[in-house]
Symmetry: C2
Subunit: 697 residues, 2 copies
């Protein structure tokens, strides 16, 4: 990856022909403010983010489709090409194909094979061979202008030989065609066939003769590492992992990085890729919240880790109760050894005890009475939190935030989960993400913005690699399909969704009352619908009890220690068999085994008669040409076992409608003979979800 | 109108705040290739043509809606403004309003009051008064921070007084509010009301205090004269108007400009605005087509006026059979005297006898055998037509076409109907339309491209003021509604449709077999659905007989003379009462009387129970504040009289659902008492269409 991205040219004429007009002459150019159109117009290129002002995104080797409307005047043949330019200027040229003649729609599947700033353009062009082939095939058959058509074919192929560089082997079929077209001893149809031979077509498909090549502007494409799209996350409060309550005194001993580190092998064994830590900084004591969000904490209450900052330090410091930087480094090293990346929570807000409050009061908002403004949603007050103000001293505040991030990058963190980014200026996030990427393009930022669509999409457009989603609140089939189509459609060019069935802040009624069937279902859907999903610690234990009146857990870890006694669920323990850890392990193993699940844009829904049963598939062609296909069928009703018929969109799976295949359920290890229409029975009586691998007969 | 358009800035940052950050400090700017987002993000501005690379269009005083997604971080108030900048740099500032909080959708209705190159931008901004008003209203009512909130209100208003220029009268309500907010002798609610008084709000709506003003790029807006959007056209073959056949010999005497001129008063009396002439140039004799498109013309056959060019001259010449330039000038002058504009047919193709063929063979395509290529659609041949080639010598060919156009502009033509523009390079049209507009911005070009949507929309985007449409082939309610919604929706920002029920090339089965009811219906729909419609001469006479196997008229005027004996239909004539001229006159009078019909984007459809009865309305607020509303109800089945119920979208008409109004049918002069649900009876038994004016009770 290059640190200096190539200049892109979103403002260049999208269009004056750069390829040859055979006459070699240039047409007069339309004067500004008109923006010259190309000789062969190319319109409506997709993906295109904010009209090309922001990059489309992919991860390395992620297949995506470029579409464009390409057409021309008159009846001559038109053709189109996608050109991807990599960070060092190498061009990857991909032929497009017309998929709708009436709408002049052209498509090509492309993938960028290295991280960094790429660009892409579509080139429309006139296809003299295509024109000749079309006309000659009709006219020679009708014996209209036969000699003339055959000679014109020879001349087109001579141009193709003269004007395009070819090896002798590549030139051979064209030379043979020229000879054959002019061989007047042979019948006209034979001479025509010499010019339209499949070898001729193949050579001209690979190295076409192109007239009037009309490129669009170069559109930016930001290619990031695969973890930006694909990964299974596991969230922990580090202080809970190893926390112990004295059964006699009731007093807690906090967990630390050293004790939390001991939990890492179990997380890795379940097959997770990322361990995400809620904030690890010193916690304020002023207006500290007590258990269950009560207003007054007792002296033993640890406080919310989101109330950041105390005399022990701020965002660049570690809560001394958790350990030292050495302990943190050891934790990160152990995670890395186990194949886990560490994601850190970035909550840019301060407790009243944060060092910034005295050292940099200009980074807060001062009220008319001279006090610093605490967080409010009138009339609600959050007196334990001082929001940062990025506008009083943007240069200073931005630089300090950048310094803080670098502290953690220097300690091995490459993923930041950003708390409530939608309460800070969007332009700040754009700046800091881009500034970090200049030297650390490997860094991934996850946006925890549970807010309106415009903000969520814009945060993604300006740089966040990943975004939390509305997944937790989409429980019906119609709304899941609608939402996932949006996410896997145009939005996938810039926003990568992360699906979480629960978090420490979210426990929906569906999860409160759906029972273990719901917890299996929602984990499986999250894991299969999108490439990045996450589980909050304790999900294995179906921690479904909410604080009355709230949609979050009772005795929330945000305000107190929690000892989950993991050992009780191990073999031989008193609660053996009462954990979903094995189910999650299976889901993660399926994800690792099936590269189709590492992608988002390949999501296809299939019709099921029952409005509560959803079916979808993912299909991906691998570099070796083989295909990976996974079909998921899920009963979304956690309370009833349902039977229905799944109607598969067979072409979307690469089959003809009449074909059959072996369907192997990776959850239950059962196998069936499936075709277009298939009976299913799913629900609490057995399993809520089939995850089916396909075996071709 | 200025000849030199102002530079627009489609490539400028759409975004770094230019308005004040109250701290006066600037934030660090995100480095390229990232495109900095605004402090207050503004996304998805509409209208936006080709991402802002091509102008949105309107005509002078045409109302249109600007929409944008505007939002911000946190809970503070956001606001937005549209700024239109006229050709001399004067800014027209229009407040936007939020119409969907969840989607952060903002809209404003705007209109540009002069022709020329304008630009527009949307500014998102932080609204300190809005923030205070929201918070203070809640907090003072709950008695939270009451004194502080009232003082902060006084300070916001002091800023509004200090930072925005106001007359003493404008400042007064704000000064009073400051005093009232600080008047500690009064109750808190009274002090709050002093700060939220309607006069305060009105003053701040008109002259707001704006922080973090974040403008989008300037997008181009091309404002053209009203005839570009609104007009009724009447098509004639000039040689037919006054042509007479000798009843004995069967020989024809051609019509001329002098005889055709005599038809102009009748066209004007019917209320048409534009008289459109098929080509008037010398006609070739080589391979001339005979009657009914037969291959070999007799010596008396006049030939198709689309086979342009003979030894008498080409596109800059007049067919000597029609007259001289003096005759043409007289024709144009008479038309002008009658309030008619002359539209000229531009068919850029040549007969083999055109002077270009010998003088400029480089402007044609030469085949491998040295011959000039005639028009083909293999295996069909059109040997009477040589298409021009604009690529062999673009500089020369473009300059010549430009010269030809200027000849006709110099003879008073301001409207060109372009024959088959989709068979010439799109970039040619863009160039010539823009080049003409530099000195003749009044010139209007109508695209006769009956082809695929991409070409039609792109020709409009690059400059054509008007476009023929699929109207003739949209006969069902669902397809008319779908198509008109497209045309009156986003496409209306760049494409202005012209609806023609028939042309000299088009006679659909619906018109062949629908009888006079169909001809009334299709004229009325065309005249009422869109602001520009056209009638081909003879429509009055229901000339419905097609050439067998073709969807055009038998004995088509393209290939022969036609004497319609107009006098026979006059009062006292043998065919008195057999013409639809009176109906067309009525339609055109209604169009002139109702300014709502001069607009396209105001089209609204209403539900009718019968799938064959369509209802729509147009509503427009006039500069004097009055409203013009027209409702049209049409039975699309020309063979049956049908009864049904029309369900009006009352708010779209400016009424509440429970209200009633006087409905006056301008066709039959009947009146009814109408409300939300209304009985109608329409069809061949009476009239196929109601055109209803509204009288408020």
């Amino acid at each position: 990856m290059t640190a200096t991205p190539p200049a892109t040219t979103p403002a260049s004429p999208d269009a004056s022909s750069t390829g040859a007009r055979p006459s070699g002459k240039k047409a007069p150019t339309t004067a500004p403010p008109q923006h010259p159109i190309g000789r062969i117009p190319v319109q409506d290129v997709r993906p295109l983010v904010d009209g090309g002002r922001r990059p489309a995104k992919s991860v390395v080797d992620e297949e995506f489709t470029v579409t464009a409307t390409v057409f021309r005047e008159g009846h001559d043949a038109v053709n189109a090409t996608v050109v991807l330019t990599d960070p060092v200027g190498r061009e990857l040229v991909v032929p497009m194909r017309c998929v709708n003649e009436g709408l002049n729609s052209w498509v090509a599947e492309v993938a960028a094979d290295a991280a960094g700033w790429w660009s892409y353009r579509v080139e429309g062009w006139s296809d003299p061979y295509g024109t000749w082939e079309h006309d000659a095939t009709i006219k020679v058959s009708a014996d209209v202008d036969t000699e003339l058509m055959l000679e014109e074919g020879a001349r087109v192929l001579e141009r193709a030989l003269d004007e395009v560089t070819r090896t002798p082997a590549q030139a051979k079929p064209l030379q043979d065609a020229v000879t054959g077209l002019r061989d007047s001893r042979r019948p006209a149809q034979a001479r025509l066939h010499a010019g339209t031979d499949p070898h001729v077509r193949a050579e001209l498909h690979a190295r076409p003769l192109r007239d009037y090549v009309s490129p669009t502007a170069e559109h930016p494409l930001l290619v990031e590492r695969e973890r930006a799209l694909y990964g299974a996350w596991y969230e922990i409060f580090p202080r809970s992992e190893g926390a112990v309550q004295d059964p006699v005194t009731g007093r807690w001993t906090t967990g630390t990085f050293r004790t939390a580190q001991k939990r890492l092998p179990a997380i890795a064994r379940m097959g997770f890729d990322v361990v995400y830590l809620t904030p690890i900084h010193p916690i304020g004591t002023t207006a500290r919240k007590g258990p269950n969000n009560t207003l007054h904490a007792g002296p033993e209450d640890p406080g919310s880790p989101y109330a950041i900052g105390s005399p022990d330090g701020g965002h660049d410091a570690i809560d001394p109760n958790l350990g030292t930087f050495e302990d943190f480094d050891a934790f990160v090293a152990e995670a890395e050894r186990l194949g886990l990346e560490v994601a850190m929570d970035i909550a840019l807000q301060c407790s009243p005890d944060h060092p910034y409050v005295t050292e940099h009061p200009e980074w807060f908002t001062t009220r008319a009475d001279g006090t610093i403004a605490y967080a409010e949603n009138p009339p609600k007050k959050y007196q334990d939190i001082y929001p940062l103000n990025f506008d009083n001293d943007p240069q200073g505040a931005y630089a300090e935030m950048r310094r803080v991030i670098q502290v953690w990058i220097d300690h091995g963190v490459k993923i930041f989960r950003v708390d409530n980014p939608h309460t800070k200026p969007v332009e700040f996030w754009q700046w800091i993400i881009a500034d970090v990427a200049e030297n650390h393009p490997e860094v991934i930022w996850l946006s925890e913005a549970f807010t309106k669509p415009a903000m969520m999409h814009t945060l993604a457009r300006v740089g966040f690699q990943q975004s939390y989603t509305y997944y937790a609140w989409r429980n019906q089939k119609w709304e899941l399909e609608e939402y996932c189509r949006e996410l896997a459609g145009d939005a996938a060019a810039y926003m990568r969704p992360s699906f979480w069935p629960t978090t420490h802040d979210i426990l929906t009624p569906y999860m409160q009352f759906g029972g273990p069937t719901a917890w299996k279902l929602r984990a499986a859907l999250a894991a299969m619908l999108v490439p990045t999903y996450g589980i909050y610690a304790g999900y294995e234990l179906v921690e479904h009890v909410a604080r009355p009146g709230a949609e979050e857990q009772i005795d929330n870890e945000k305000y107190q220690f929690k000892d989950r006694r993991w050992a009780d669920y191990e073999p031989g323990g008193p609660r053996e068999g009462q954990s979903l850890a094995g189910y999650l392990t299976k889901l993660n193993q399926i994800r690792r085994d099936h590269p189709a699940l590492h992608r988002l844009r390949n999501l296809v829904f299939h019709h099921v008669d029952d409005a509560n049963i959803m079916a979808f598939s993912k299909r991906r062609t691998l570099p070796d040409g083989s295909e990976d296909i996974v079909i998921v069928v899920a009963n979304l009703d956690p309370h009833s076992t349902r039977e229905s018929t799944v109607h598969l969109d067979m072409p979307a799976l690469g089959f003809d409608y009449h074909e059959h295949f072996g369907a192997h359920d990776l959850i239950t290890d059962q196998s069936w003979h499936w075709g277009e229409h298939n009976y299913v029975r799913l629900g609490p009586a057995s399993e809520p979800v089939h995850v089916i691998a396909i075996r071709r007969y």
